[in-house]
């Protein structure tokens, strides 16, 4: 099939950037979206033009590296799917496809479709952990956890840190990402000792990074390739308010 692509090209962080048109022929429907871009890039290199830079790695939907906004939806229109798992059979011959980077002030563009998501790293570093040194651990089965809680924690823990939630949110809020990590630990007994400190520290860092506020559009949940529920945001709201009230220590 033939497609008309409009791709965001931006030389570097300082460049203003623009959309550029690329017609591509002989796209096969078995190709993944990124393989379609590979084909385009191979063609561009052979023509002596600079290929389109985009982040990708595992190509099986788990590493969270791929990050394109396709026709205005992060990771494209197929539900619960990363860009690398989106296949061209979901498009029609003659389609026009707009490909843009994830947009947010906290995710500055590095080049073309590659953005800097290190804000997520700093949020994790602020509190996205349980403080247990190697060797400190107690025997694993000495801490029974209700299956329901373990399952719910796993629902939250599935987050791949791709940032689609931020990209989809008209406010560029990072609440879904942060709440998934906060809730995973809040649901487990291991997470209790640091529970209040953690939510305060992570939210505090999130706000420093310049993410927007949650206005309950639920676009994040719709774009999330792991379909993480916005209920974790509600859980975090509750956790945050309780912690703000009861935790005297400033973080």
């Amino acid at each position: 099939m033939r497609l008309k692509l409009f791709i965001w090209r931006q030389k570097n962080a300082q460049d203003k950037g623009h959309m550029e048109k690329y017609p591509v022929d002989d796209v096969q429907e078995d190709m993944s979206f990124l393989e379609m871009l590979d084909v385009l890039n191979e063609k561009l290199i052979l023509e002596g033009k600079e290929p389109v830079a985009f982040d990708h790695d595992c190509r099986e939907g788990i590493c969270g590296a791929c990050s394109l906004t396709i026709n205005g939806i992060p990771h494209g229109h197929e539900k619960g799917t990363t860009t690398c798992q989106l296949h061209m059979r979901k498009f029609k011959d003659g389609d026009t496809i707009y490909i843009e980077p994830f947009r947010a002030k906290a995710f500055p563009v590095i080049k073309d479709l590659v953005v800097d998501r290190s804000a997520f790293e700093r949020i994790m570093q602020a509190g996205g952990f349980i403080s247990v040194n190697t060797g400190n651990a107690i025997e694993a089965n000495s801490l029974p956890i209700p299956k329901k809680n373990a399952e719910l924690a796993m629902d939250a823990a599935q987050c791949i840190g791709c940032g689609a939630c931020v990209a989809a949110c008209p406010n560029a809020a990072a609440m879904l990402f942060v709440s998934a990590k906060v809730s995973q630990f809040a649901l487990l007994p291991q997470g209790q000792p640091e529970r209040k400190r953690r939510v305060l520290a992570m939210v505090n860092q999130m706000e420093k990074e310049g993410f927007g506020a949650c206005t309950n559009f639920y676009e994040c949940e719709a774009a999330c390739p792991k379909q993480i529920s916005v209920r974790f945001i509600a859980m975090m709201n509750r956790d945050y308010l309780c912690s703000r009230v009861s935790e005297p220590v400033e973080v």
Binding site: K105, C169, V203, G212, C214, Y218, E221, M236, N237, R238
Partner: protein, 283 residues
Amino acid sequence: MILINYLKSTILSKFVMAITGVILVLFVIGHCVGNLQVFLGKDAFNSYAYFLQERLGELLWLIRIGLIAAAVFHIITSVWLKFLNWGAKPTKYQVKNYVKARLTSRTMIWTGIMIFAFLTYHILHFTMGVVHPEDYNKTDYYVTNAVSVDKVNNGTLNDTEGSDECCAEGTATNAKESIINYNGSMYKVEGDEPILSERHDAYAMVISGFQKPLVSILYIIGVILLGFHLNHAIQSSFQTLGYNNPKYFPKIVAGSTILSILIVLCYIAIPISILLGLVGGRV
């Protein structure tokens, strides 16, 4: 400044939005129930208005200050958050598609601003009488020592309708019977003679106000905007305040829509009925 310290945290800001929002929604519902008394007739409506304005005393101002504070915080916070949110997404997508965000949720700030404009007008009109003062400056005289009775038709009327001089004293002196007709309603008077008092004629104000088609249309638009706003707002406050149980949340979302539609219908029933002459034809 300590009052707006909470703006430093988006979650606290959202919390303030939700709490003030809930207060305002409760007011909207209460106000709606009150207004619907217009269908019970002039006396009931004016009694209700009189109760609110005169009987509540300081409490009225307490409520008013509360509501104004809620509105002020609601507005300050929303504007602050809006600027913050715009700043968080400085570059917009060339093409943007939405999956879950609805028109109502995406236009909160705009419906909010329009509701605010409408509300200002609405208060200037019906609360302060600044616009269309002719609607506002109406007085209702009523018998204070009597109770209304139905199906009594042999009383005599001693007073003329709404004459100012007469009512300056606030009494009607010619009553001999225990059943009187006043202003077309029959009263059973407890003493020998009815005592007339004056009060603001809110009923007449509403009727004459809404009999102007332009005012009614403006009101209907304002209320529909409010409905849009509430449709997102009600369920959203549950989420912000931390209640999202997957079993009940869809019901909350549906309930939010139903409630906002109900509120709109109740409110607009009033101007429509008046325009159609179903209510207030006798004024």
